[in-house]
Amino acid sequence: MSALAGGLKLSREDRPIAIAALFLVAILIAGTVYTWVRFGSAPLLSPTYLLLQLQIGAFLGIVAAGMMVVILISQIDLSTPWTLTAAAMMATAVGGPWAIPIALGIGLAVGIVNGLGIAYLRVPSMIFTLGVNAVMRGLMVAHTGGFAPQTEATPLMRSLAAERTFGIPNALFVWIAVSVVIVLILRRAPLGRYIYAIGNKEAAAYLAGVQTRVVTVICFAICGLTAGIAGVLLAGYSQKAYQGMGDAYLLPAIAAVVIGGTNILGGRGRYLGTLIGVILIVLLNSVLSIMDMPEAGRQAIYGSVIILMLLVYGRSERVTS
């Protein structure tokens, strides 16, 4: 993950990205063929359509960005759904100029709690974040009385999520900003090296003097923060927050990261892959919408696509020693 592989030789990390990109193109083509045959038009290739997809993709993309960082250090964050929802609900409840800072603060705080429990208490992340998710849900249910809060998103939130600047959706700018920060961290900053080192061999990183526990807390904090950002945008887009708004983002985020070539066990993966994974999932969803595919078919295709892609490049080595 340091020097780029020279020339056209595709390194082990580039292959999944190339394949995912090819698959993305294949979906576009298949969808276009379908709409041409059925409707006589090619809406999938229109810039308006593609921009709209990217705007929707921004929400998933931001969540996936944070999730990737956590997966890289061989952990996972299952508390994203209710962290996102809590951030959204508290933002709309507080309103005014404090809405967004509160949401980000919640995301950050939850991430830090996750990180502390996992790094210092060594509770497996799968189960700790599960518990935190349940606690966040409990807090929100108690707070809202079980209903969707009536309070509305602030104009700033709405603007960030739904409006455009120079014809480009603002949400896309937010996604780009998040992406730039993540890429800078992963590729240029020492923190990024430490992340890959821990994901590869935590013992060796520790003995090399890397502060592995601090890095773990930071990674979960990043993941919580991105969940908070996504919560702000989602609430802005729908004008309100609602129960369970974050549930639909957890598994697709994990899938996007994995489809993009990041190893679920950590230590390997490039952000470009996650980007492509997100776009692939969003496109797939929308193509299936256009085809009027019922939810049943969508789920089945979704699952099959993941398996197919992983068969092509996600195979792990047989354990022999």
């Binding site: 080192a197 590869n200 003995l207 003097g209 230590g267």
Partner: protein, 518 residues
Amino acid sequence: MAEATATDFLVLSGIAKRYGGVRALENVDFACRRGQIHAVLGENGAGKSTLIKIVAGVVQPDAGTITLDGVLHQFRRPAEATAAGVVCVFQELSLIPDLSVADNISISAPPKRFGLIDTRAQTRRAEALLAEVGCEDVNPLLRVHDLPLSRRQMVEIAKAIGQRPKLLILDEATSALTSADVERVYSLLARLKAANVAILYISHRMHEVDALADRASVFRNGRHIETFDEGTRTTSQIVQLMIGRDISTQYPPKPDRQRPPAALKIENLVWENRLQSISLDVGAGEIVGLGGLDGQGQKMLLLALFGVLRGLTGTITVNGRVVRPGSPSDAKAHGTGIALVPEDRKIEGLMLPMSITDNLAIASLKNLLSGPFVDAGKERRAVEAGIERLRIKVGDRADAVSTLSGGNQQKVVIAKWLMTGPRIILLNDPTRGIDVGTKQELYRLMRELADQGAAILFYSTDYDELIGCCDRVAIMYDGRIVRELTGADLNETNIISASLNIATSEPAAAPHVATAHG
């Protein structure tokens, strides 16, 4: 080279094996007979482990044939080798820690009743086999991870003989054993020999080979050099075959000077029951060795100094300042400047799938920044400097460090630490598994670093290294330093007796030429 004869049981012909760019075995012809103990000798990296793995079916050879009792075989997995009567006791144990001793002993073909495992019959079988190796006191119901290492090794041996081998291979099987258990293994091997089992015995301990073997084969750099009957070669001849050149290892000369002031001062270090009040000084420019039998606390001392152990009491002073490293990050910090070259480079020293550049730079990234980011130019220059100084043989710096040979991997670990500019360098058995050429380079490097002012604390299981490299050697026994040897007192006799905690007032023996044998 010994010719295969009609009475040979195992015959290898033309065996070759490559790992990436490294030729582990090349055109090996080898034979051994039933009812004999056949020793396999060679330096680390000579190809012994690979040979054993091929015979045991763990890896497949690139070329060559394996013949057992006249029948050609191709083992694609360990189970096939076992079925043919080849049983191997590896250095890395094949026991399952969370299962019981009885489960482990009968792991692959347990006695069954109504299709399910018959635990009572299994326990009885375990008791019988444990008795055969003389370990009746081990309760078969215990989980393996509850047993001490020596007992685990005995269980591994019991498991092996339970498979009724025709060819038994022991790879450094006695390295973890207590002396009592070693005796038990000797008598077991004698019984197996009498039962016409062929035995291949890999060991670095010459006295064991002398005591046990009927024939011996020497390997060097992946080739079979010679096979001879025991007693027909002297130790120095064998050593010469093993290292292939002049007998005396070149150790760099030691400076003759006053003992320098202490850069590292350790006072009354106590940890659990493994370190019992250790006090030691290491001066700037000194190489101090840690010696003694395995497991007397030497590794724990190094880990303690590096901040890995919690609940440590005592005082550590670096250049006059008391320090309390709570983690390796603290220990490596600029004010303290301690570096540790760890025991197991594959797990503790390197991130194998990551590039050579990443592995070299990981400990010193803070020195390679411009602004908040890593400066690619600074990194590249530092990496090149490290590669040059240690003379690491690398191709593309972006290649994974796993593609390097063992010796070069160890050099990467050391170079990584040198890039942090350490004042105190701790080395945990750094030459284990390294070829002779690289070892020499490391000895020279250590002396060079000492001459430049570093304080070096060096743990080694090799007496000759300790004698050859160190200005002083502290022998540890049961968590204490029982003796410090220096000058003329620093000789093999004193090291051995101190290691066994035998008080000796013998004068130093006649000038001792350091020989290089394992």
